[in-house]
Symmetry: C2
């Protein structure tokens, strides 16, 4: 029973994601999500009391997944370079899909919630990147960069691209240049 | 006569800026701007046909002012380091005032206009920074960085901070770390 409930919950999050990405947070109603999932109102409400909680579940899932991947890979002793290259490829792929960016929805949602929720969200991203950078420095695969500084640059340059790629035409060369910058800052053999 | 008209226009832009920064683009009406400026409807409309044109005038003014400052300083042969330090101080001051960020308004506005306007806006910012970086490299004050890459990093890390500082608590240490990153990438004597 739990497993079916989990699967339905997962299906709701999957179906709701593109709605929020396309329309932002404010415009989306529980009815839109019923329509997208084929669930009845009762069915949907048994999982989430409203769009706010549903959207938060999407945010948390994204962050946890990425955080978990990094932690798992580091725990398994995978090379920092390999983990970095995977993460940068993923980041570049995401940059190429501005329509799938949740930036607008996050911005709208943040207007309706207390700051702490967004602070937690940012903190997970910060911890994820700074732990990878520290891991890479310890293994002598990365330059001895200022961890706090480079983590901030990575987080905010990424958010800047995610937002501006929705409102201007950005060429793939812009995305590559930014990915390259991060790579060059970290990898010893790239200079 | 022209001068009084210019001054009124300037006064309108000054008065409208904080409204857009605070409320975004969509919520602000011409009536709000009449109230903020003390102008009659007729008076305001003789300057701008609507909030769209008024907001565009604000964006253009900001970009032109910054662009002009850089160009003037370079033409006067000011050192690249000095121009950079001034620009970075200004940037850090702006970062500390999330309430004055137009990010939300730009985001909303961009949903209502054709992409070319926003592309022009981005292009001016790009030209501004890349010409300064080239100038500094030529004068051997800056490292021979990849101009395209670092310009993109500067533009988008700034936009990322401007947006996220509105929805999360960011400490001044975050701003300084980012400003420091840009400085270290460019200035020869900082490494």
């Amino acid at each position: 029973m739990t497993s079916k409930k989990e699967r339905t919950r997962e299906m709701i999050l999957e179906a709701a994601y593109p709605l929020f990405a396309k329309e932002g947070f404010n415009k989306i109603t529980m009815k839109d999500i019923c329509d997208a999932t084929g669930l009845s109102r009762g069915g949907l409400y048994s999982h989430f009391p409203g769009t706010k909680e549903l959207f938060e579940a999407i945010l948390v899932r994204i962050q946890e997944k990425e955080e978990m991947n990094f932690q798992k890979e580091m725990a398994a002793g995978m090379s920092a370079t390999e983990i970095l290259e995977k993460a940068l490829s993923l980041m570049e792929e995401e940059m190429k899909q501005p329509d799938e960016s949740l930036s607008l929805a996050i911005y709208e949602y943040a207007g309706s919630v207390s700051q702490p929720v967004m602070n937690d969200f940012t903190q997970i991203g910060f911890d994820k990147w700074s732990s990878l950078i520290q891991y890479g420095i310890k293994r002598k695969e990365f330059h001895s960069v200022d961890v706090f500084e480079l983590t901030n640059v990575i987080l905010y340059v990424y958010q800047g691209v995610r937002m501006w790629s929705r409102i201007t035409d950005m060429t793939p060369a812009v995305f590559s240049s930014i990915i390259n910058h991060i790579r060059k800052e970290l990898l010893r053999n790239e200079e």
